[in-house]
Symmetry: C2
Subunit: 296 residues, 2 copies
């Protein structure tokens, strides 16, 4: 015998147990008295127990009714909480979104988007992971991030992706460098230069190896981890560097220049990445939408 009871019936039961009067309780529930009478009977049938002892003068809970009332109060409460929780969630008054982004994006472009998101959905907790591309992917795969903004070299078949930005590489050099006067530079112009590169684990490095390897420029004198170090080395005349546009803010110095590369140049494609096997939460969908709107 399968149980079937609706929230409506539970509510009607509790209303009657408070009002102790069918007519009044029916009004409370916005149904006719006859309907209400039927509802109580239905519930009693369902339970197989008489819940109220009633005549035209008195309506009083039976002991079974008392027992059930206690339980029903809890049930109704729990159900209401469950629903209001979910509806808050749907209304994006609650929730959680985690976004993983390359440090360059996380520091340069993302903050404005996050600010806007916070303004729109103040109740949603936001988590930002500023990590390298491969880590971004891992976080998404492990479910620790809903969305990633990254430029991975590895395959993206496993993920849902969308093009976000083509980040072109610039030559960074000191103002007194031989190529500093050129409006654009070619790989040939850089032959013989000392290159300062980011560590192998960065996507910048990998894209560069792919591109520069192809043009034959492979010399590399330095390999460092932080852009600030790159800047310091360049300023001391120890070399030049090829870095994507999104990092240029780190090189705003009177003695430094960023020169675009001649076509076709070098670039890294940055993607919006998320899991395709699991749908995005509403909070994450909203974030994705905002990211698209504010796309570079």
């Amino acid at each position: 015998m399968p149980i079937n009871v609706s929230f409506k019936l539970l509510k009607a039961f509790l209303t009657l147990s408070e009002q102790k009067n069918f007519t009044r309780a029916a009004e409370h529930c916005h149904v006719s008295q006859s309907t209400f009478s039927g509802m109580i009977q239905r519930l009693e049938d369902e339970l197989g127990a008489r819940l109220f002892d009633r005549n035209t003068r008195n309506v009083v809970l039976t002991p079974e009714g008392e027992l059930f009332a206690e339980a029903a109060r809890h049930l109704v409460n729990d159900i209401q909480w469950t629903f209001s929780d979910l509806s808050d969630y749907v209304a994006k008054k609650k929730g959680h979104v985690a976004i993983a982004a390359l440090p360059s994006i996380a520091g340069e472009w993302l903050p404005a988007v996050i600010a806007e998101y916070r303004r729109l959905y103040p109740g949603i907790a936001i988590e930002i992971h500023d990590v390298l591309s491969d880590n971004c992917l891992d976080l998404v795969r492990q479910g620790q991030a809903d969305i990633a903004l990254a430029a991975p070299n590895s395959s993206l078949d496993e993920y849902a992706t969308e093009h976000f930005h083509t980040d072109r590489f610039f030559l960074i050099c000191r103002r007194d460098h031989p190529v500093a006067s050129l409006p654009v530079v070619t790989m040939d112009d850089l032959r013989g230069c000392d290159f300062i590169r980011l560590s192998r684990s960065t996507s910048v490095h990998q894209h560069l190896v792919n591109a520069v390897g192809a043009t034959g420029v492979t010399s590399s004198s330095f390999e460092v981890k932080y852009l600030s170090t790159v800047a310091g080395l360049i300023l001391h005349g120890l070399g030049v560097s090829l870095l994507p546009e999104l990092t240029l803010s780190q090189f705003r110095h009177p003695d430094l220049l960023a020169i675009p590369l001649a076509t076709p140049g070098i670039s890294r494609p940055i993607h919006i990445i998320w899991r395709k096997d699991k749908p995005l939460s509403l909070a994450a969908q909203a974030m994705l939408e905002l990211v698209r709107q504010r796309k570079l």
Copy 2:
């Protein structure tokens, strides 16, 4: 917007979230696939949120679905417990009954009934209060006892009552007492006897005062609390006593006699008493039924 969701829908939702397949889940729920599809849609409409992301190949919970699933599991569990609890109660596998009875009844007649009740409904807890009549009434009024077996002198208007037994009084005397040879005794036969009476708080005392006061026999030498004391006093030749039949088991002694009183005699009516403003629990109803069946 009033919530309305049925247990059936919650169960369907959980089934689908486990089976991840509409057709299979529908079979589990004993409905057609089309019906099942409609049920899930109805639930989603009700909640205003998409719970499953589905195509013909995959059925996967959305994050909102996950959230709801957790809550729904608890709800379904609670509802099932509530129902099974109540049905145990209805089936009298569980429950509680408290009965208040005069000490004479509690010691003499009740144990067999209690034993039978226990045999019939082993899961129900039984509470017995062996107290004097007035206390019996108090316990019932306070809800500490469901049913009382008592012989109160006070008004019973407040209660629902039913006649249980007419407890006739007997004369208890020593075998060598002047009236010992009579088959029945009258009040006249007892003129001048010393009477041993139970204390004023007992219903026996009060019935006796009413009856004997009317026939003019008012002498009273002793007033004690326990029947065993009465027996001792009589055995030592200090008097006789008038006591109801239900107490006679306390006077089975070779030197003691119980002699019926001549018509009309004296008697106390014993009633089954319970609250009339509150219905009896099922467990108590069963007890009442048994008491009626086994009535003296």
